[in-house]
């Protein structure tokens, strides 16, 4: 997959955020942006036919390990954000009886 495709994934997420009227859909769009970002970085750090990054001195043509290390952290952070956001969705549904942005934000108190 080329980096261009991953950028398209990010743009799809952005489009979803700017149009979706449902809170859960918005949460998923954030996740889509994040997945696109992870794919983008892994693609950029990838090496066709490269081998695993182990400091033994025997392997050559190793893949850059830093993108992978960073992206694991990003995945962890992303799952935290998703979990917290979905928890808030549940709470919002209990309070407002709806998870549409319009009905949730339109109401005072």
């Amino acid at each position: 997959m080329s980096p261009i495709l991953t950028i398209i994934v990010i743009l799809v997420g952005l489009y979803g955020l700017a149009t979706s009227k449902n809170i859960i859909k918005s949460v998923f769009c954030v996740t889509i942006i994040e997945s696109g970002l992870i794919l983008l970085f892994l693609n950029l750090g990838n090496l066709e036919g490269g081998s695993i990054p182990i400091l033994s001195g025997l392997v050559e043509n190793i893949v850059d390990p830093i993108p992978q290390a960073l992206m694991i952290t990003t995945i962890v952070i992303g799952s935290t954000i998703t979990a917290l956001a979905l928890m808030l969705c549940i709470k919002i549904f209990h309070h407002f009886g709806s998870i549409e942005w319009k009905e949730v934000l339109g109401r005072e108190e």
């Binding site: 700017a18 942006i33 960073l70 952070i77 956001a85 808030l88 934000l105």
Partner: protein, 537 residues
């Protein structure tokens, strides 16, 4: 010994974090008092490091794990980060004092509160872009929890709005980091700073710059991305609002300074004018919204937006005086906005209402709180002798000689004065009969903030030379400044009396204006495209 002192930046992060975990795990009665111990330890550690930092000019970098600087995660301290670290510790301590009696038995709250302090200090000290992103995201998560802590409908609503919008901003910040890594093969800020001017593909670097600045603009609440701020700061409890307005927004501004003036300075994009105008628009829009509000906390929250605009006007400038004015305004705003929120919190708690016209007679009912509120109001509206005036005069150098800019600056000041004349209506009137709660710690906390506002206003020469190493040449105590401020007060009062108080239709329209989440994201895309257009053309 020196080896140990050089390691102190780690302790600044881990002291609050470890104490927060201890408080959460051991739910005995006395453990919450440990939060004070952590603040004292932090202050000791900070001053020990400060003396070490002064004596060893070549030893300000701390790389973890024995890696080379290029690969490893590192902390770096310069004057700016030290100033912000001290500000963070100070504001957290004061707000802890304010909240303590009310929250004494709430161990979970102290967990989030102290954890946020550790993360915030980490964000200030880090020298690694990815590390900075992680800290940014962690502050987002923790602040979301603190906003929703009341467990009411509006607080959940503000929480999710804040969380999603800021996560999008932070993710775009990360995309920028990805591009930078792809070009330079490092994410160390100091190494990048040297490489960025000479090497690499210009187009990709520009693209990374645009994306990172747009992402961080969401967190810094610049126009038109500030919509989450009034929601979040208006809904949270007063102590938390003070923390958010006073400090957490400044964290984003700090990252913005780091990007604009340190990381990308050699790249030569010269976006000062753009960010100056974004600051102007932010300030004007914030003030307009603030004038039309009737809810005390909403007024203060929109004023945070407008003051962020003024800070941007300062820190976007190349000239050192307006830049330091912007930084000083960040510090001053942290002091007087926390003071306003805390004072308003005491009033709201006793009067049981947030409506500004329903609270009367604070001067007679709560004399100390009212006097402190007056100090804060004079500071924020830029009265001579108070700290807001010093930083605003320094920022004014940026607009000197340009008629349009001067007029706009005048308008912003006038709006601020007007809306605080409106705010000051809570002070006057007959004494209210209320059940008063004795809380000496709370009173001490606001007195400390009030005195520090006055202190910076009076001893600005000493403070400017010790923090920034500059001298302010002009005398700020000339009679003409007092006359100017008096004129502001008169015009502001007339404007308030005959226009604002009548509550004409435009004000009602502005008050009920709401931006949906979709449009907020749409605004983000537009903002991104505008910055992209300006940078590439």
């Amino acid at each position: 010994m020196n080896d140990f002192l050089a390691q102190i930046p780690i302790f600044l992060v881990f002291i609050p974090v470890v104490f927060s975990i201890i408080i959460y795990l051991f739910k005995a009665k006395w453990t919450t008092y440990l939060s004070f111990v952590s603040q004292v330890l932090l202050l000791i550690a900070f001053f020990a490091y400060l003396s070490f930092w002064r004596l060893h000019p070549g030893d300000h970098l701390l790389v973890f794990g024995g890696w080379s600087e290029r690969i490893g995660i590192s902390f770096f301290h310069d004057g700016l980060s030290l100033t912000f670290s001290f500000l963070a510790i100070f504001i957290f301590s004061v707000i802890l004092m304010y909240l303590f009696k009310f929250r004494r038995k709430d161990h979970k709250f102290f967990f989030f509160f102290l954890f946020l302090e550790g993360i915030f200090l980490g964000m200030i000290q880090t020298n690694d872009l990815f590390n900075m992103f992680v800290f940014l995201e962690l502050t987002t998560v923790l602040v979301t929890v603190l906003i929703s802590y009341q467990k009411s409908g509006p607080s959940f609503q503000a929480g999710i709005y804040y969380l999603l919008l800021n996560t999008v901003g932070a993710l775009f910040f990360l995309i920028g980091i990805v591009f930078l890594y792809n070009v330079f093969g490092t994410i160390n800020i100091r190494v990048l700073q040297e490489l960025i001017g000479t090497q690499g593909d210009r187009t990709v670097v520009k693209f990374a710059y645009v994306i990172m600045m747009s992402g961080i603009s969401v967190k810094a609440a610049l126009f038109p991305l500030f919509t989450w701020l009034p929601k979040a700061h208006g809904v949270a409890q007063s102590g938390i609002s003070a923390l958010l307005s006073g400090l957490v927004v400044k964290g984003a501004l700090y990252v913005l300074i780091r990007m604009e003036r340190f990381l990308f300075v050699e790249a030569g994009f010269h976006m000062n004018e753009l960010f100056f105008w974004i600051g102007v628009v932010t300030a004007i829009v914030g003030v307009t919204f603030a004038i039309s509000q009737k809810d005390m906390k909403q007024i203060l929250a929109y004023h945070t937006v407008s003051q962020v605009g003024i800070m941007m006007m300062g820190i976007s400038q190349i000239g050192l005086t307006p830049f330091y004015g912007g930084v000083l305004h960040i510090i001053n705003h942290a002091l007087f906005k926390s003071l306003l929120f805390l004072g308003a919190g005491i009033l709201i708690k006793h009067y049981q209402t947030k409506k500004v016209y329903e609270i009367k007679g604070a001067l007679k009912t709560f004399p100390i709180v009212a006097v402190m509120l007056i100090i804060a109001m004079l500071s924020i509206s830029g009265a001579p002798l108070f700290n807001g005036f010093v930083s605003k005069s320094m920022i004014k150098y940026a607009v000197k000689g340009n008629f349009i800019k001067e007029a706009l600056f005048f308008l912003i000041n006038l709006g601020t004065v007007t809306s605080f004349i409106k705010f000051s209506s809570v002070l006057f009137g007959p004494k209210a009969i209320l059940v008063k709660e004795k809380n000496p710690l709370q009173i001490i906390s606001i007195i400390v903030l009030g005195l520090s506002c006055l202190g910076i206003g009076l001893f600005y020469q000493v403070i400017a030379s010790s923090i920034f190493g500059i001298t302010i040449s002009t005398n700020l105590w000339e009679i003409s400044h007092f006359l100017d401020y008096g004129l502001f007060l008169v015009i502001g009062f007339l404007f308030y009396r005959f226009v604002v108080k009548k509550d004409y239709l435009p004000f009602q329209k502005i008050r009920h204006f709401k931006l949906t989440f979709e449009s907020a994201n749409y605004m983000f895309v537009v903002y991104l495209l505008v910055v992209l257009g300006v940078v590439f053309l």
